[in-house]
């Protein structure tokens, strides 16, 4: 009954892709088959993929649409960026020990809170700690007050906006609008050198794979089931004796840390960070990646982040005037016609194939007695989605819509029994979820 975290094929494919990311691409780069620019750009996409996973962990699995994930991403970037700024040393344009922006803000001594960032390990610690603390404080207050749905989204958006305003202030001594740039050294080596960049890419690859494996394990564990139950029927989880707030808080903190690590790796590879990266629209972008890839799956956000950003990179160069329209159209179409995103495509094809087959069979076998519009309406987009959405899986759909609690267990759903008894009903309720997450309206519908 319990699905294994990794099936054999899955392990094989995961292993192959990891080797591709962590070994093949960097080696190909070292031998000149992939340009430094390509590798660097891909490193950036992988960092974005971590941000997208963090969004998905909250949105797709826990039903919390956080619009503040870019803040955690950027905080991680800033924490590592502070170390990199100090490592510039006297190589800046003023040949001062202070970072350039401090010199022309008139500072003569390093602010005390900058001092510990000379240490690499301290800065790494802060990459994890600071976002975790911020998420803990914010999440504690928000979840304790039972803030959810759009109100949670709005609050997180406000949080990231206020953080951006704070970082734009020059008084904060974090570089203001210009942010951090012009990094020179990491561990004493030239940071822009192909070797360092290659290692950073490898580190990003490892971080991404590790994040993926961890999140997959987590979402397949009992914890993951409760997490999904919180998304689907929070009240029931509460009645079953679980503290939903604690689960949500843990996921919130975890995803903040994931985003933050992604941000730290991002800064080292992109070589710059400024408060613009925290504005709410960046968080929204991450949500879009997630939706395009397919939320409620872990590969979805990775695919979404990589493909949308690759498309953006390509289109801003090839069609500088039209790229916004193109990308916008893609997003609209994805939302309208691919509710489960790119990862849902094969299923959609399969379904279409099956319907067409059935239709042909029907035609061949006997006179078409009825005009069930789902069939031949398959290729006309306008009438298609609305009408044909219902037929494929009536039982699941109907039971999900009309009655959130499956009728199979005899136990009263509102009966708060001991854990042992409530777990069986939870499992069947949660198990089919991953496949129909996008039909699930409650977290996303504004």
């Amino acid at each position: 009954m319990k699905e294994k975290t990794f099936s054999r094929t899955h392990l094989l494919i995961l292993g192959l892709l990891s080797i591709l990311l962590i070994v093949v691409l960097p080696v190909a780069n070292a031998h000149g088959y992939i340009s430094n620019f390509q590798l660097n750009t891909w490193g950036k996409y992988l960092c974005y993929a971590m941000l997208a996973i963090s969004v998905d962990l909250l949105w797709g699995y826990t039903g919390l649409l956080s619009l503040g994930q870019a803040m955690f991403f950027t905080l991680g970037g800033y924490m590592f960026g502070m170390h990199l700024m100090l490592m510039i040393g006297r190589l800046g344009s003023y040949q001062s020990d202070l970072p350039d922006f401090m010199v022309f803000s008139g500072l003569t001594t390093l602010p005390s809170f900058w001092q510990p960032f000379y240490s690499f390990s301290f800065s790494m610690l802060m990459v994890v700690l600071l976002p975790a603390l911020v998420a803990l404080a914010f999440g504690f207050l928000a979840f304790r007050a039972r803030i959810k749905g759009v109100y949670f989204s709005i609050l997180t958006q406000a949080l990231t906006y206020s953080a951006a305003l704070l970082f734009f202030r020059n008084e904060l001594m974090m570089g203001g609008d210009n942010g951090f740039t012009g990094f020179r050294r990491l561990f004493g080596a030239e940071i822009r050198s192909p070797e360092v960049q290659r290692w950073l890419f490898v580190a990003t690859g490892i971080a991404l794979v590790a994040t993926y494996v961890f999140c997959r394990w987590l979402t397949r564990s009992k914890f993951g089931l409760i997490q999904q139950a919180v998304r689907d029927i929070e009240a029931r989880v509460l009645f079953s004796g679980y503290s939903a707030a604690a689960f949500k808080l843990f996921v919130f903190v975890l995803s903040a840390v994931i985003a933050s690590i992604g941000g730290a790796l991002y800064v080292a590879q992109v070589g710059s960070i400024n408060p613009n990266a925290m504005t709410p629209d960046k968080s929204l972008e991450a949500v879009v990646w997630c939706a395009v890839g397919g939320r409620g799956t872990l590969v979805g956000p990775i695919i979404g982040a990589v493909s949308v950003n690759a498309a953006k990179s390509w289109a801003t160069q090839a069609y500088p005037d039209l790229w916004l329209i193109m990308l916008g159209a893609i997003f609209v179409l994805v939302v309208l016609f691919m509710p489960r995103g790119l990862v849902g495509l094969p299923a959609q094809f399969a379904w279409a194939g099956r319907r067409i087959n059935a239709f042909i069979q029907e035609r061949r076998g006997r006179r078409p007695n009825s005009d069930d519009d789902g069939n031949d309406g398959g290729d006309d987009d306008s009438g298609g989605p609305g009408t044909s959405r219902q037929p494929p899986d009536p039982p699941t759909e109907a039971s999900a819509m009309s009655d959130p609690v499956p009728a199979d267990p005899p136990g009263d759903p509102a009966n708060p029994h001991a854990r042992g008894q409530t777990e069986p009903p939870l499992t069947p309720a949660a198990q089919p979820q991953p496949r129909r997450t996008s039909a699930d309206p409650d977290p996303s519908t504004p």
Partner: protein, 497 residues
């Protein structure tokens, strides 16, 4: 088993993405046949229009999913070949790196337009050393890391000889390491705060002493005694105001006659002078009240480095408080003719601006330039160029000058390589541009005329004062410190070292 289709999708996406990011074809060479890979996916995806799918279905007809993706990938290949075929020796590639979308697009698209105009003009006259200019226009999308990525793409993939681009200081700061690392050449055309001299950037922009200081000189000539410093909170206003504070002190203006407040560090040294508001700030009531109080004794002016839209609420509040250009004039450094396409000029009539070019300059060179540009606009077929209500302004002309200076330097050097061209630029090259003669300097800046203009109701400026051939000096912090207060000076001397 059920993962198989997903994996196929991953492979498809990775493939698409790889094709996408390898694409290097410039827009000029782009053909109609190019289909964005993502949209293809969407089109095929729209056919089934299915949402809920039982798991079994995937195994029922496994041949369907692979068939579709394969077609998509194949269709993506031809453009890559087109891109590869485009690079023959007839042309010289030149990068244009501006925001064509996002918040800065309103300003930066004008620079893209004037650059394309300049390229066409040069091409019509035989190109550069016999080679036609092939512009590679990319969109920085007001997204600073994307600026850095696109700069890298222009230099590494498109192998452009020179890049014209950037508007904001932050975008310049973000691309600077890329240009230094890859030994590229960037022409930067917009007034900026100085304190920078990259070996790979040529600043056709106004330095602080080609805009703010002449403006203050003019104000001092007019008998102004008190100066209120107001700006948006970013590096250009802050640095400019710090320089202006030192300059005013050196001219004998006492510290208490400089308004807007000061920040001091623990030792009491001034780290910042002036009043700053965030981007998009709308409530200027309190600030205007403070200015009124400050201006009570008369002979007061406001040095305004507010950016873009925030000028609208400020000037509205200013007018509502009963102040006019007679009682308390405002001199603005970020409002040019182009900004008046979006700002109400009537609110600013009589206020001052200071630039190294005004559209209203009454010289044959300028009239010819404006006429040619307008004719080009009317005739151009480049998509996305606005044709109505166009004006010319200083950043546009400085972009235009940059193209011609680069052309002259290339011809003098006899090569398109960065370093020889920079060498020629450092040696001093002159060009008679629309705003008067400009001459390149050893410190990567330009000597040029500075004009002070008075705003007219139609969004133009009437030139009221000209400073001839001002030498551009990027490093000003601390240079005026001698005559001022000791404490203010001490910090800045350290800073300049």
């Amino acid at each position: 088993m059920k993962l198989k289709p997903r994996i196929l999708t991953i492979a498809l996406c990775l493939g698409l993405a790889a094709c996408g990011s390898e694409e290097g074809s410039p827009p000029a060479a782009g053909t109609e046949t190019e289909i964005p890979p993502e949209s293809e996916v969407v089109e095929t995806g729209s056919e089934p229009a299915a949402e809920i799918e039982p798991e079994v279905a995937m195994e029922d007809s496994p041949e369907t999913p692979p068939a579709e993706p394969a077609g998509t990938v194949e269709e993506d290949d031809p453009p890559a070949e087109v891109a590869g075929a485009a690079g023959n020796g007839e042309t010289v590639k030149v990068g244009v790196l501006h925001s064509l979308s996002g918040t800065m697009a309103i300003s930066e698209t004008s620079l893209r337009d004037v650059l394309l105009f300049a390229f066409d003009e040069i091409n019509a006259n035989g190109g550069v050393m016999g080679r036609m200019i092939e512009p590679v226009v990319v969109d920085g999308a007001s997204d600073w890391p994307l600026f850095a990525e696109r700069a890298r793409g222009l230099l590494e993939q498109d192998q452009v000889s020179v890049v014209f681009g950037c508007w904001t200081s932050v975008s310049r700061k973000f691309v600077l390491p890329v240009f230094e690392e890859l030994d590229g050449l960037l022409f930067y055309p917009v007034q900026y705060e100085g304190e920078e001299m990259s070996p790979n950037i040529f600043y056709t922009a106004e330095a602080v002493n080609q805009q703010a200081i002449p403006a203050v000189d003019y104000m001092l000539e007019q008998g102004m005694e008190k100066f209120y410093l107001l700006g948006s909170d970013y590096v250009y206003p802050r640095t400019t105001n710090l320089v202006l504070m030192e300059y005013l002190l050196s001219k004998g203006v006492p510290l208490e006659n400089i308004g807007g407040g000061f920040d001091r560090d623990e030792a009491g040294n001034i780290t910042s002078a002036g009043k700053y508001t965030p981007f998009g700030h709308t409530d200027y009531q309190q600030i205007v009240a403070e200015i009124q109080q400050f201006a009570a004794g008369g002979n007061t002016c406001i040095i305004n480095t507010l950016n873009g839209d925030t000028n609208v609420p400020f000037f509205r509040e200013y007018a509502a408080a009963g102040m006019t250009s007679d009682t308390c004039p405002v001199v603005s450094f970020s409002i040019s003719e182009d900004e008046f396409r979006g700002l109400p000029a009537r609110q600013l009539v009589g206020q001052l601006g200071c630039w190294t070019y005004f559209m209203s300059l009454n010289t044959p060179a300028n009239q010819q330039f404006v006429e040619n540009f307008m004719n080009w606009l009317a005739g151009t077929e480049v998509a996305g160029i606005e044709k109505e209500n166009r004006v010319t302004c200083s950043p546009m002309v400085l972009s235009y000058n940059g193209v011609y200076l680069w052309k002259k330097a290339v011809e003098a050097a006899g090569t398109f390589d960065t370093q020889p061209v920079l060498e020629q630029l450092r040696n001093g090259i002159s060009f008679d541009g629309p705003g008067g003669t400009v001459t390149t300097q050893e410190n990567h800046h330009l000597t040029k005329n500075v004009y002070i203009g008075e705003t007219l109701p139609n969004g133009q400026f009437r030139v009221i004062r000209t400073f001839d051939q001002v030498y551009g000096e990027p490093f000003l912090l601390g240079t005026f410190a001698g005559g001022g207060e000791e404490e203010a000076g001490a910090v800045e001397e350290d800073a300049a070292e």
